[in-house]
């Protein structure tokens, strides 16, 4: 079975988040790491490869050249190969442009199963998979908390507002997994060493047959008009040192909550 996993490089969690007032977009200039939510997709891909008795796991990403490090991490975890679509023209791509690029990259791969993570760490309740599935004209299931592949069918257990659904879809299919689907492994030293010599292919727009005006801001249909003032918070009290337990009790007593 051939499994493609869409992964994204995101700013490191500890880095302070800011929106660049000029571009009005998230400042991504710092270090990038593998999106923590995509680690579950990678893990699931590795498990499904194992369950199928073999096959290939390829991670596919659209991002700046600095994203290569994040892809190395996926390779260290056990993916066989990585594809990075990188081009200056891609900056500012929204879901329309991003899905267009990833769909082209995935068409070249012709996988049996396409996995995505639950969301970008810096974005909320993302929906890229559905756009991707529409472009590829493939069935799509999101929020998968359990995934079983048998007889060319994917069966997914997933939660909605009303309880748990069981959904079946024939392969090839696009499945977005939740962050509870598995417990990801950590890369082994051997894996990290092996990753250095695994193939990491770079693709340009031209190689995907795309034009610069189909991607980036030109190929997007959403805009950021204005940034509001940061909201003034009530100001949480954060106890880092000293007796946090006593601090909680005192606080509860002060507010007559105990």
């Amino acid at each position: 079975m051939k499994i493609a996993i869409c992964v994204k490089a995101v700013p490191e969690a500890a880095a302070p988040r800011r929106i660049d007032p000029q571009s009005k977009r998230l400042d991504r200039s710092g270090e990038l790491t593998l999106n923590p939510f995509d680690v579950y997709a990678v893990e699931e891909g590795l498990r499904q490869r194992h369950a199928a008795g073999g096959g290939e796991v390829v991670v596919v990403s659209m991002g700046p050249e600095r994203a290569a490090e994040a892809l190395r991490r996926a390779l260290a975890l056990g993916a066989d190969r990585a594809v990075l679509v990188s081009d200056d023209a891609l900056a500012g791509s929204d879901i329309l442009a991003t899905s267009r690029v990833l769909a082209k990259a995935l068409e070249r791969e012709q996988p049996d199963l396409i996995l995505l993570g639950q969301q970008g760490e810096e974005s909320v309740g993302a929906v890229l998979w559905a756009a991707l599935a529409e472009r590829l004209r493939l069935p799509c299931v999101s929020q998968a908390a359990e995934l079983t592949i048998a007889g060319g069918m994917a069966t997914v257990e997933r939660q909605t507002e009303f309880g748990y659904d069981t959904i079946g879809a024939p392969l090839p299919a696009v499945i977005a997994v939740s962050d509870a689907i598995n417990q990801p492994r950590y890369p082994s030293l051997k894996g990290i060493m092996a990753a250095k010599s695994k193939p990491l292919e770079r693709l340009t727009l031209a190689e995907l047959g795309l034009d610069a005006n189909e991607v980036g801001e030109a190929g997007s249909r959403t805009t950021v008009r204005a940034l509001g003032e940061p909201s003034k918070r009530g100001g949480a009290r954060i106890v880092e040192d000293g007796d946090g337990v006593r601090a909680i009790l005192d606080f509860l007593v002060e507010r007559s909550l105990v």
């Binding site: 969690a13 500890a14 009005k24 929204d94 879901i95 329309l96 909320v124 309740g125 993302a126 929906v127 890229l128 559905a130 756009a131 991707l132 599935a133 529409e134 004209r137 069935p139 799509c140 299931v141 999101s142 929020q143 939660q159 909605t160 507002e161 009303f162 309880g163 748990y164 659904d165 069981t166 959904i167 079946g168 879809a169 299919a173 939740s178 962050d179 249909r221 959403t222 805009t223 950021v224 008009r225 940034l227 940061p230 909201s231 918070r233 009530g234 949480a236 954060i238 106890v239 880092e240 946090g244 337990v245 601090a247 909680i248 009790l249 606080f251 007593v253 507010r255 909550l257 105990v258």
Partner: protein, 320 residues
Amino acid sequence: MKALVFLEHHQGALQRDSLGVLGLAARLGATDAVLAGEGVRDLAAEAAAHGAATVLVTEDAAFAAPLPQPRVELIAKLVEECGYDSVVLANTVLSADVAAGLAARLEAGLNWDLTGLRLDGDELVGERPALQDSVLVDVGWSGTPRIALIRTGSCEPKRRDGESAVENVAVELPEHALAARMVEQAHAKAEGPKLEEADVIVAGGRGLGTAEGFELCEELAAALGGAVAATRAVVDAGWYAYSAQVGQTGKTVAPKLYIAAGISGAIQHKVGMQGSGTIVAINRDRHAPIFEFCDLGVVGDVQDVLPRLTELVRQRRNGG
């Protein structure tokens, strides 16, 4: 604005958030609503009472299961044939997938997680909280149609008077749109306590480490006379009952005191508990988003903090 609102329904009732979104769109301009499923025609009157000028109804077995792809086909056809310039949906699991498929299908801009919509002349403006809700960003669309997903819980449904029409619509579905099948719908996993009525909730997340870790929450909850809640991450993993889940796809609660133990504070969790009177968070990661919206945060290990806190609460209750 000529808008179309997609209405979700479950067990013979229109979803509250869909009705709220319908009201929001109707305040901005002429708004129709689309309703698809089996045996849904009777719901049209309710949609009309919430602001739909015309309710477009598709009665079709292919729409019986709440799966997104047939709905993408239906709405795409309506937008193309009737010239809607905007499609507005509540940001639910189903509708989010419908909206994104529709965006790709119509090459239309999609803005999600909006908490408000307004018109600036002819231009539609979406209000989106960003960076852990610390900044409000105004987002827009270039060209039409424009697709907007509204965060659940951000608009209240309101009844209004007015005439409305009901029309039947149908669509042919391509193979890929019918490929995914519902095997079993909306089966809940285990029953549990009534969370909505509790004054005190001790909620646990993945930071508890294991299913057994929940005993720490149960003991603290017992000492405080409260109930235990959980995040989706631990419910999906089978550590705790779905009936105890708080958040977008779980319950919405507003106790006097909400203690979040080993919970990162994802937006989808926050929407279910942000109305709590006092929020206390315990997390070992100083950068956890929950520290941005709690009243008191303690950076520490739940394995250490919870048992000692339980002990202190017990002592105090026993007059110590």
